[in-house]
Structure formats: structure tokens, C-alpha cells
Symmetry: C2
Subunit: 599 residues, 2 copies
């Protein structure tokens, strides 16, 4: 695969690199006295120098002869020099930040490249939205490599999304310079049932010689997993059991071990390495999602490498898992993932292999971050108007919009019971009393009215339901981060506050809000597609914190309530979900009525 993410293609730089290595021309940069983390041979090599020219590595070893008058010499003074870190699977939208601000947050932690799956924006704005994110990314030093979203919509026929992507569009994106493969193929049921749609999408990627990334979340490692891998899926980040990750590697699949802000798989899945004497070349560490607070307080891949070490994986192996192993997974190891001649000069300096504090980061040979601070200015990028005005709801929302007529004085309704910090939900039933001919939330039972508004095409479609598990006693909350269609989701104890919450988000272009008694307690505005904001990680983190306080104020004690809320419409997860089209029984994959006695 031709990598277009380097400052200079190797075939343009090779004469100069030869000359620099040979001592006929001075290097741009020489880093001296480093302990090299050699990910090729799994060794620490002492007192190594690295010469850089044209943004690439010309020489590794003794570089005295590469130093000229104009050469910048950096004394590593015994610190550890490693290849820049690569995140093999990340949804930037999960950070709620623009790619530019995301880059500013992660680069100081040693991240030089990400394989991003902009699945969320694609559901809202289609491939045009993906192009915006790529433009945003192109102003940053971060190598933001696209894996085209494979499943838009995620659950066809059960929700209305802003866009729909088929095999033809997938094939088209494979010609994009930034595209290195296919985003996580969540439609594993389609793959396993030999669906043409699923296999055509994978096939379009394979035909282009690019990488198919996976999502196989079943605790099943026999015929299903084999069928999935046999279709050409090369990696998967959905192992939550050690035996799943191990089975994947044994079947030649890259096991991407995840330690994100929301999903902490590593404690369990690291055992596939620590308890087995296996070749670890098929193991990769990824984040999948990263919240601003995590990035600020813990870090990014540096944090995940530390976590891997805490679980007993040796530090060099852990670093291989965010460098060469990832580059080999994407068949981009000729350009990325190792400190070796000809490779991009993407380098991190680490104080020691225990604390793993990243002190310097070079990308394409340029010092890009130092001591936790990004050094490079980025030109501003403004998302176009249509991307920042994505709230297209076909009606004026008032308190009346939320009315659910009652047919009887008491009715039994289906209730989605969410489980804190888990992705699953349960179908429960609750008896509600009619109030003036309408069904209302019943905080005493923790049963809250929930509405999903189609927000992409002004269709006016909306789905009604009830949820349990948030513990809200007053007020309402709303969000446009509502997987995967990202319609407008509103939950509340009363219709007035629900209308306020909905209109607050409509006004600010989407986001997340909590209101109480006619007052907005906190809002995270996400005007870019209703998913992101171009504020800094610090500002985003502050806004999120304020919202979390608001959440607690209205009675919710759940950790990461917006994460749980965001999954309410995700109709590919069991058992009961609510989309703009109505309640979905996600085990039988059919719509079910709100009232249990309806047909």
C-alpha cells in the first residue's frame, strides 16, 4: 500500500537519504545518546544516534559523520527513543473534539498516527462529513488514516440516518489518498450469513488491496469467528475475554486489545499474552474511544502501554503493540512503526520505560511536542455551514410534542432497562397510570419517558418509549450523540423540561444537555454534526464536568450516564432499543409496540 501520509515519499527522498547516511550531505537532525527501543528485534540498544533528513530516518547507529553546520543535534541523554505510537482503531468523534483538537491532545502523548473510523459523522453527514474530518486532519501533523465506515446505517430498516453507504461508495473511497482500509465491519451477522451487501463491501476493500478492520463481539471462537475471518477481516478490537483475543491471534487475526475511556478490556485480555508463551506479533493496543478527560488526566497510547505493563506485558512488547505490530497489520510497516533507515522520522523520546513519560515527539522529523505540549501551530479549519447546522427536525417541539395518549386509566408499557457501564439492556414492563388521558414519566418507578426525533431530513418521525436505570428524579436530558443514527434523544421526568432540553440542542446545533424546572443546568454544545466541537480538550473537559454535575443535580448517580444514554437507540445490541421509528426488539429484530397489549 502506498502511504501518502509522509512528508516526502521515499522515492523522492532516497538519493538524499543515501547521501546523508554516507556522510556526503549533512542531516537535518541528529538525535544522540539514545537508548533505542528496537521494535524490530525486541531489544534495547544503548548509545544510539539517529540521523534524519527529508522527514525520514537516514541512519541509525553512529551518526557523527552526519552532523554538519546546519544540523540540529539533540542529546537524548540516555532517554529511550521509540517509534511514534499508532492507534489502530479510534473513533475521533468519541472525544467530542474536532480532529485538529484531538491531534493537539494526543500528539504530546506520543501518538503520531491514528487509524480512524469516522463512523459517527458518516451516519449524520455521509461521506461529505468524512471529507470534512479529513480536511480538518490534514492541517495537523497527526497522520490520520481513514478506514471508511462500513456500516452506515448500522441497522438498516430500523432507523433513519443522515446517510447510507453502499459497496459503490466504499469502492470510491478506496481511491482516496487518505483511505487505508475499511472501518469496523460490525455487520458480522451479514458476513456470517453470506449477505451480498456485507461481502461486497469487504470485497471492494480487498480488491483495492486495502485492509478490512473488524468488529466481532460474540464470545464464540468456532465456526462464527472462522467464517468472519475467512471473509478477509484482518483485525478486531472487540475481544472482552482473554480466550477471544487468543483465538483471534491463533487464527491469524490481529487482536486489537482495547483500553478506552469507556471500555477497559486490558485487565482481562492481556492474559492472552501474560499467560501464554506466544509470538505476540498479532497483538495490538488500541483505544477505540477517548474522552477529553481521559486524554488530559491519563494520556492516550502512552497510558495504554503503561496499563499493559501493569498487567505484566513487558515494556518493549507493549511498545511493539502500538508501533510495528500495528503498522504490519495495515501493511504500512515500510513507512511506519519502527526506527529504521528509510522510515518516517516519527519518534518519541521517553524518560524511562516504567513511568513512560513522553518528553519529545517528532513527526516527519519535526519536533512537534515537548513535555506534554504541542509545539506546532495549526492553521484554523472551519467546518462548513452545512456541517455545523445538522439539526433538521420537521416540527416545532413543544411540551405537547411529548404527549403519549393513554387508552385506559392504567397501561402496561415496555421499558428499556439500562445497565450501568454495560452495553446491554433488558426489556422490562411497567404499569403506568393515565394522567389527564396521557402516559407520563413515573420517577417513583424510575420509568422515564424517552423520545427519539429524526433530525437529518425534516421527516418529523419520532419514536416513543420509556427507560429505567438513570434514576433521574426531576428535569430532563437530551443528546444528539445517540448511536448510530445520532438522532435527537430526549429523556425526562416532565414534558416541559423535555421540550426545553430538545430545543436547547436544536439551538446550539446538537450536543448534550441537562435541564431542570425550565433552567438549563449544563450543555456540551457539539455543533459539528451534533457530535463534535472545535474547542480544546481542556475546554471540552470543563464543559463535560459541568454537565456531569448537572446530571448528578437532577438525581443520576450512574457513572458515564451519557455513554449509557448514547446506546439507547443502537438497535444492534440486545434486548430492547428505541429509534426514531419506534421500539425495536433486538433479539427478534422487529418493531414492538410501546404498550404490551397493542398489536
Amino acid at each position: 500500500m502506498i502511504n501518502t501520509f509522509c512528508r516526502t515519499p521515499l522515492w523522492e527522498a532516497s538519493r538524499t537519504l543515501s547521501a546523508v547516511a554516507g556522510g556526503f550531505q549533512p542531516a537535518d537532525l541528529v538525535i544522540t545518546h539514545a537508548n533505542l527501543v528496537n521494535v524490530c528485534t525486541h531489544e534495547i540498544m544503548e548509545d544510539i544516534s539517529v540521523a534524519v533528513s527529508c522527514g525520514r530516518i537516514a541512519l541509525v547507529g553512529n551518526a557523527d559523520h552526519c552532523v554538519g553546520e546546519a544540523t540540529e543535534v539533540v542529546d537524548a541523554a540516555g532517554q529511550y527513543l521509540a517509534p511514534g505510537f499508532l492507534d489502530g482503531h479510534i473513533h475521533v468523534e468519541s472525544s467530542m473534539m474536532s480532529v485538529g483538537e484531538y491531534a493537539r491532545a494526543v500528539i504530546p502523548h506520543g501518538t503520531v498516527g491514528i487509524y480512524m473510523d469516522p463512523h459517527e459523522i458518516c451516519n449524520v453527514l455521509g461521506l461529505d462529513g468524512v471529507k470534512c474530518m479529513l480536511e480538518d486532519a490534514s492541517r495537523t501533523p497527526l497522520k490520520a488514516m481513514l478506514t471508511t465506515p462500513s456500516c452506515v446505517p448500522a441497522v438498516p430498516g430500523f432507523e433513519d440516518t443522515g446517510s447510507s453507504i453502499g459497496p459503490e461508495q466504499i469502492a470510491e473511497t478506496m481511491n482516496w489518498k487518505a483511505c487505508v482500509g475499511l472501518g469496523e465491519m460490525m455487520n458480522f451477522p451479514g458476513v456470517l450469513s453470506s449477505s451480498d451487501h456485507a461481502h461486497d463491501i469487504i470485497g471492494a476493500t480487498l480488491k483495492a488491496g486495502k485492509i478490512v478492520t473488524g468488529h466481532y463481539s460474540l464470545p464464540e471462537t468456532g465456526k462464527g469467528l472462522n467464517a468472519y475471518i475467512a471473509s478477509g477481516v484482518r483485525c478486531c478490537h472487540e475481544s472482552t475475554r482473554m480466550e477471544d483475543a487468543l483465538a483471534k491471534m491463533r487464527l491469524g487475526m490481529y487482536a486489537m486489545l482495547r483500553e478506552g475511556s469507556a471500555w477497559h478490556d486490558l485487565k482481562e485480555v492481556a492474559r492472552c499474552i501474560t499467560e501464554h508463551q506466544i509470538d505476540t506479533r498479532f497483538a495490538v493496543l488500541v483505544s477505540d474511544d477517548a474522552h477529553p478527560h481521559t486524554l488530559l488526566s491519563q494520556g492516550h497510547l502512552d497510558h495504554i502501554v503503561r496499563r499493559a505493563a501493569e498487567e505484566g506485558i513487558d515494556a518493549i512488547t507493549a511498545i511493539q503493540m502500538v508501533t510495528i505490530n500495528c503498522a504490519q497489520c495495515f501493511q504500512m510497516d515500510h513507512d511506519l512503526g519502527s526506527v529504521a533507515p528509510g522510515k518516517c522520522a516519527d519518534l518519541v523520546l521517553i524518560d524511562n520505560l516504567t513511568d513512560l513519560n513522553v518528553t519529545k515527539v517528532w513527526i516527519d522529523g519535526e519536533l512537534t511536542a515537548e513535555n506534554g505540549v504541542m509545539l506546532k501551530d495549526m492553521p484554523p479549519y472551519a467546518y462548513p455551514d452545512w456541517a455545523t447546522h445538522s439539526m433538521h427536525i420537521g416540527e416545532t417541539i413543544t411540551k405537547d410534542t411529548f404527549r403519549i395518549p393513554a387508552d385506559k386509566s392504567e397501561e402496561t408499557v415496555r421499558v428499556i432497562e439500562v445497565i450501568p457501564a454495560k452495553v446491554g439492556s433488558l426489556e422490562r414492563h411497567a404499569v403506568l397510570r393515565s394522567s389527564k388521558g396521557f402516559l407520563e414519566s413515573d420517577p417513583a418507578q424510575d420509568v422515564l419517558k424517552t423520545v427519539v426525533f429524526e433530525r437529518h431530513h425534516n421527516t418529523g418521525k419520532k419514536g416513543f418509549g420509556f427507560v429505567r436505570g438513570f434514576g433521574i428524579t426531576c428535569g430532563a436530558m437530551a443528546s444528539t450523540v445517540a448511536h448510530d443514527a445520532h438522532n435527537l434523544l430526549v429523556i425526562g421526568t416532565n414534558d416541559d423540561d423535555m421540550a426545553l432540553a430538545a430545543n436547547t440542542l436544536i439551538q446550539c446545533g446538537g450536543g448534550m444537555t441537562a435541564v431542570q424546572n425550565g433552567k438549563v443546568l449544563g450543555t456540551v454544545a457539539l455543533p459539528i454534526a451534533g457530535l463534535m466541537n472545535d474547542l480544546s480538550a481542556e475546554e471540552m473537559s470543563r464543559m463535560v464536568e459541568k454537565l456531569e454535575n448537572a446530571w448528578r443535580q437532577i438525581g443520576c448517580s450512574m457513572p458515564s450516564p451519557f455513554m449509557t444514554m448514547a446506546l439507547i437507540p443502537l438497535a444492534c445490541l440486545p434486548e430492547l432499543r428505541l429509534t426514531d421509528r419506534g421500539l425495536v426488539d433486538c433479539t427478534a429484530f422487529r418493531f414492538v409496540p410501546l404498550k404490551t397489549d397493542s398489536k
Copy 2:
């Protein structure tokens, strides 16, 4: 890289594979009760079954549900199932056999794919000759993957070859289906001196997203090796010292450890693995050259894996070195090199990991060899007339052709002294007495007249010289296997026999011969480009044996004399060489006169 060497591209097979893995459709083949050599995780997994369909692996594990009425079931009965072996660097011409017969010889030893560099035929017949070899290969089950010869001619300006290949031709071949990269870039001086020609050839390969294979034979691991690797060269099979191979791996270069018929590097270079606790993913085992006798008596990659084990490399690691490591080097690991779902069903069954007897070989799911015998019939392939009539010498050769006029009664001449079983030569001087006004061979001093005839373009060019070291006391020998131009080389004690030897080869279209007193003692006819014959390995081996006897009969006690002889014209090796243009001082790279007192 898109692999076109599999029976069915994955995107055409994936629906069927999913169905087979899921048990919805029976497999074509199920192999049961195998000890799987898992090269992905470096483990032996017991009692494993493998299901195959469309020539690819559908499932690895328990395959009971994949067996239908028409499924062929093979009980491995506890034998070891490994991926088919890949030879990362081989010149098929070194076997003197056509690709078809070469395939028939190596497949029963477990070889399913070769990365061939048809450098020799390209020097004689150009890219048209390469195409012939690819056509020959295409009738065989062997995956013969082309690396386009990079250095034709090898030493421009010092010899006349049949063809000359520049960056434009290289770029053209990168569009060929069979081409996966560039053949060994022997012009490392050009790379190190930033020569446009050398870098353009490498660049044409990199631009096509393909692999540049290397040849860096200096015992230097500092600036030179760095400069070479920085140019984009991914692998090298020219390490003869342990430290060279180790340095290459540390610099992210695949170290191809060689154990060929002529070059036995493994004893020394295996130490880079056995004496260092390194990650071995960058280590590959290759043959580089393979004579018919070696293939028959010892084997091919199976033999090399055994040799690696003898040197202390554990068997699984050694098998990784001819499977997944090689496939990853060529970025073809998505199709080749492991026993995993979706991969080509290229499989070998091995009796045990000590003796490593290959009992069965499947290629693309078809049983292709069993117990040392190739099972598949191949359609015949006839090389075209122009390929089997490549002797174009611009004069009628008689004894007078070999006359070297003497200017004085005694003359001092330069003599090429060959060193048995080494590639180098030394420049010596000898005093010869004039006989009837001519300089003649002097067997008493072991100084033999040597002539190289241009044989490609009827130019009538010829170079005269003398050699020492063969010990021939009577008769003459000739060969058209004369690196790299493969002109007609004749060495002899008298002009009559030299003429007979030359004309014998002209008549049979090239080859190797030994004559004595007007009688041909033995000839290996190589009518295909003067390099190959389409006889079987057994027949070739017999012919070679007969020629070796003839060689001994005329007084030569040197081991592999034709190997040594073949290097006499190779003007890139020190110190003194003879081409059709004359004697070359290969340290100063200039022509020198035969007589030391000439200017």
C-alpha cells in the same frame, strides 16, 4: 499488494468460505487430527482440523460440521500440518532446469511459492525471456512470483549482454500480474552514491507499492548499510557473517539467511538467532540457488529448515522463517504464509519436526505431491525458437580463432587466479614463451588460455585472457553459464580442443562441455537461453554427473568447477575478470591489457 497467484481471489470466495465455516455448505476438503504448526502464535496445537473450499481455508479448529457427502476427508493421524513453504529469493536458472521441471522437483519438498529473480535469462533474452519463464511457470501449481531483474547488465560498459533494462522497463513490469517487486539490487555502489539510474529503478518499484529486494555483500554495517536500507531496500540475502544478518534485522531489513547448493551461509549466520534473544520476525530462510543434485539428494526448503534446526534454531521458528516471515516481507501475508481462515490452502504435512519429511503438499487446496512425488500433470510448455536458439556468434570458430600473437619470445601476461569454492579471484602475472609466434596455454604452470565470445548480437567481439587454478592438464571446457552476460566462455590447454568445445555448445544451443583430444567427454546441453533445459531433475543430475567425471578426467580436482568458471566474467567481483570486451581490473574498474607491458 494484490496477489494474483491464488486460484480464487478472496473477494470471490468469501461468501462460500463463510458458508462452509458456518456449516451451511460442505467443504471440498477437511484435514483432521493434525498437529498444527501455528506460525502466527508460535505454538503446536493438537488435534486440529482444517476445512478447505475454493482453494482457500474456511476454518481451522473443529471442522466436523464442514463435512458433507462430497467432502474429501484426510486423516493427518497426528502428523504436523504447516503452511506451504516459500522461498524468498531464488534464481531458477541456477538449477539449469525449466521452471516447470524445477516446480516438479521442489513441490514434493513442501515448496508452494518462490520469489524468483530471473536475472540470468533477462541478461540473455531480456524481458521477453522473463515472460517465457512466467509462461512456463503458469502451467505449474507452483506460485512463481516475479521480482524483476534490477541490474541488466550487471556491470554496464564492461560487457555485452543480450539485453539492457532501465527504469522505464522496470516500471512497466510492475504492472505485470506476476510481478511482486524488484530483484536483488546488486548495484549497491550506485545506491550509495545516489546514482539516478539505481534510485530510479528502486523508485519505480516503490511507486508501484511493491517490494525492493536487496544484495548488499559488504562486511560493513554502518553508513553503507544504512544508506542502502534507507533507499527502500527491504531484504537482503547476502549476509555471510552473523553480525551482518543481525545488523540488518536491527535496521528493519529482512535478513534472508541463505543455504543454497553453492553458498552455505547458515552455519555462521544462524548464530544471529541462536546467540541473541531477539524477535525473529525479520529472519527468512532462502536458497538463492539450487542445483538438481541438491534438490534430489537433500531437498529444498525442507532441507534448509532441517539445517536451521541443526544449527540450534527451534523448529517452529525455522518454519516461520519459510512461511509467515517471508509472506510479511513481501506484504502478502493476507494470502500466504499461515494456516488461517481466508488464506490460500497451501499446506504441507510433515511426519515429525525432527526429520521433517514432507508427506503431503496441497496447493490451493489440491493435493499436489505425496511422499516425494508430484501428483499433478502439467501441460507441456515449449520455449519459442528464439529462446532456444540464443547462440549468435559473429564468426566461424576454428582453432585459429584462439591465437594470441606474441610480440617477443617471452611475454609477461596477467592471469586470473581463481580460488576454489570462493567467489573472489586474484590478479597474478606469468611469463609465457612464444610458440611459433603465439602465446599458448602452459599447463605446467597451470596457466590456461581463456576466451569470452560475445554471443548475443553477432558482434564478433571476444576477450582474451589466462586463468590459473583449474589444474586442467589436457583438453578444454566451455560454458554459456558465465555471469552475468552469459557469453560463451572457453578455457583450454590447446586451441583445437577449445574450438571443439566452443562449437559443441554453439551446436547444442549453449550449455557446458568438456572435451579432450578432439573428443567430447561430456556435455550438459542448456538450449533454453544457453542456461536451462526442460529435462527432469533426475536427467539433469545424471548429465551433470557425467560432465563432472569428464572434468576430473581432464585433470581438474576442484569442487564445483563450473561454479567457479561461471564467475570468471563477472566484472563486479574482485580482482581480475575477463569479459567479451577484455580483461577488467575490478578494483579500479578499468580495462587492462593482457600483456603487462602493454599500455
